[in-house]
């Protein structure tokens, strides 16, 4: 949506059949952009576009959050021999909506001696960080808010800010359980940030770019998890483990650990503020899953095999957005299975796992990947 790019594409076709939009969203967005640029001043066109994107993200955020909460309940019910929500709406799909309405109407209980400014600020920091990361994620071909040359770097940088919200929540609640939870979470997120970063760097070496659209484009002939030999596979496993840890989900949900700390850093939150934390947790999961899908499974890129043109064209018929959603939810499903089948680790075991095992393996892995790329041994 940068003016220069738009200027080059002023002659975008107006007579594209509607189903083409599913394969390339820029066919839809560029005419809108061109029309806006033509009718109002550049400043106001940018403002209007930002507002549209913001509203769309808000909608997306709510829908994905509610759906993931529902999905998690169904998945955990499936594992635990239960039915899960099945009363409100067909198959209980409106259960989470009902829960959200309930949370909206609940009283926000003021905490005695809490630092009320920080206490109120904390959930918003978590939410804002979520939004900022969402901006960089390519949902489909031509469907991303910003696509710049350090995209994946930006994602790492911004997503590590969510620890601030968690720490603030724990600190300002004036509760001992919250403080322990927040401190655990701080140690955990800061440690696993390293593993995530190194796993991403492994792929960046293979792709030769940090721009997310280029990373996806490089996977046109095959997803990186297949192209990058064993190092890519190791990086994928490490990424899944450490992203589970970074989103504070089981078996790494030390920060919440309800059997030890009741609810960890958000013990004292009630009503919609609690819902913010709860939603943010699920959106975080969505974000790490979509980054994993983008880096390792080709994002919206259909499943292509080298030079099998016929096969590749059949795969191209499935719209990119479906590919993206499918891959993301596959990874979300794996992360959910972790939570419902494993017991929880202890905090020192968690840090041992990171510093003594994942980090050295990861460092070695980066070297091997660099060597493979140097020698040109990848596909």
């Amino acid at each position: 949506m940068l003016p220069e790019i738009v200027a080059q594409n002023t002659s975008a076709s107006q007579s594209v059949p509607w189903w083409k939009f599913f394969y390339d969203f820029s066919l839809l967005t560029q005419p809108v952009d061109v029309w806006l640029k033509g009718s109002v001043s550049p400043f106001w066109s940018t403002v209007i576009e930002m507002a549209i994107v913001g509203v769309l993200f808000l909608l997306f955020y709510a829908v994905v959050g509610l759906f993931l909460v529902y999905a998690e309940r169904k998945v955990c019910a499936f594992i635990q021999n239960r039915l899960g929500p099945n009363r409100i709406g067909p198959f209980g799909i409106f259960q989470t909506v009902a829960d959200l309405i309930k949370l909206l109407f609940k009283e926000l209980i003021p905490i005695k001696n809490a630092d009320s400014f920080l206490f109120n600020l904390a959930p918003f920091i978590v939410i804002i960080v979520n939004f900022m990361v969402l901006a960089a994620i390519p949902f489909s071909k031509g469907l991303h808010a910003i696509d710049f040359n350090i995209g994946i770097f930006y994602v790492i940088a911004v997503s590590s800010m969510s620890v601030v919200g968690v720490l603030l929540a724990g600190w300002s609640s004036n509760s001992k359980y919250s403080l322990i939870g927040a401190m655990r979470s701080g140690a955990q997120i800061v440690s696993y940030e390293l593993s995530i970063g190194l796993a991403i760097i492994t792929i960046v070496i293979l792709a030769g770019s940090m721009q997310l659209s280029e990373i996806i484009e490089a996977q046109r002939t095959g997803w990186f998890i297949f192209k990058g030999h064993i190092p890519a596979l190791i990086a994928f496993v490490i990424y899944i483990i450490s992203s589970t840890a970074e989103t504070n989900r089981g078996p790494f949900d030390m920060a919440e650990a309800e059997s030890e700390l009741t609810a960890g850093y958000h013990t004292e939150y009630s009503g919609i503020r609690f819902a913010f934390f709860y939603l943010a947790e699920y959106i975080n999961m969505f974000i790490v899953a979509s980054i994993a899908a983008t880096l390792f499974l080709g994002g919206w890129m259909p499943f292509h095999v080298g030079s099998w043109d016929g096969f590749n064209r059949i795969m191209d018929f499935i719209p990119p957005f479906i590919w993206y959603i499918g891959k993301t939810f596959f990874i979300i499903w794996i992360i959910m299975l972790f939570k419902w089948t494993f017991p929880r680790l202890r905090i020192d075991q968690l840090l041992t796992l990171e510093w003594k095992y994942l980090l050295p393996i990861n460092l070695l892995n980066v070297l091997i990947m660099a060597f493979i790329v140097l020698m040109g041994w990848h596909f």
Binding site: C76, I79, Q80, N81, R82, K176, Y177, I180, R184, G250, P251, D253, A257, E258, S259, E260, T262, W340, T341, F342, P343, R344, L345, R346, I347, D348, Q349
Partner: protein, 374 residues
Amino acid sequence: MDIQVKELIADEKQEYIINMGPQHPSTHGVLRLVVSLQGEIVKNIEPHIGYIHRGIEKMCESITYPQIIHLTDRMDYLSAHINNEAVCLTVEKALEVDITDRIKVIRTIMSELTRIQSHQLFWASYGMDLGGQTCFFYGLRDREKILDIFEETCGGRMLVSYNCPGGLMYDIHPNFQQRVKDFIKYFRKALPEYDTILTGNVIFRERSIGIGPLTLKDAVSYGVTGPSGRASGFSCDVRKHEPYSAYDRVNFNEVIYNEGDTYHRYLARIEEMRESMNIIEQLIDNIPEGSYAIKMKPIIKLPEGEYFQRVETARGELDVFIISDGNKNPFRLKFRSPNFVNLGVLNHISKGFKIADLVAIAGSLDFVIPDIDR
């Protein structure tokens, strides 16, 4: 010099004190633990009990013996049947009543079913204490089957009140034998599933092996009984040493480990479920004929004297001590409840471990809070 000493004291006292309970998810009830922490490490634990104290021992002094049965249900509600049996055995011992073999065998089968369902709930909640929430539903799923058997025969599901002095309240339901056999057949298949989901899990083993070790010496001196004591090598199974009911006519092993950590306390319970199934299998096909209750006097009066009976509940040794002055209600009735004694060792074995381990240790001792408070 003065200042230095003061600073030293201040440094020593820099502890982070948290209240675990009375409404904490992993204390399994209304137990309150005042935990002193240094960082994550537990320095000291002070259990505060009595939040669900109902004065059961005192209440027993003003009611008749058949009525006491209904109070003992509410002590260790997971071993309700065994608690009832303890009081009944004491009363029968005092009156020198000869109960029929049928009563003895049915009581034994019911006791072992109670033990299995208690250990199932232990497994379920222990899994949850360690964060494996799925265990809870698997455990309760299997426990339901035993509760259904209880419901059919006794009317009650958890608090069965099936015993009465001199026998049983009612005869067993015609389906009883078949359903118990079906259950054992089912549970022999379901038990390996428990091992798959929890016992063999790497994280679970990391979390429990070597945590909260209790030596044999400490187990004896603190009086830790039941599976927790036997995991430390303390041979304390009343069923073996002082057989009551029909335990003298069945073959079973006393499950004993020597390591005494949370993992072996857990294993001891899993193995006990297997042993209980063996006991039931030996008895279920040959329940002798006979009357299910001995006719007692309408008002039971114990002769003057002191009477004592030990039984093995799912959590350890329950002793009943009755002092009678010849009236229809006891002059003094004392329960030695296993949970109260086992709680005493908690501080000793969990010092120096992390707060997450405290939850695991407390879970492995398998407290039932109403039994502690009575």
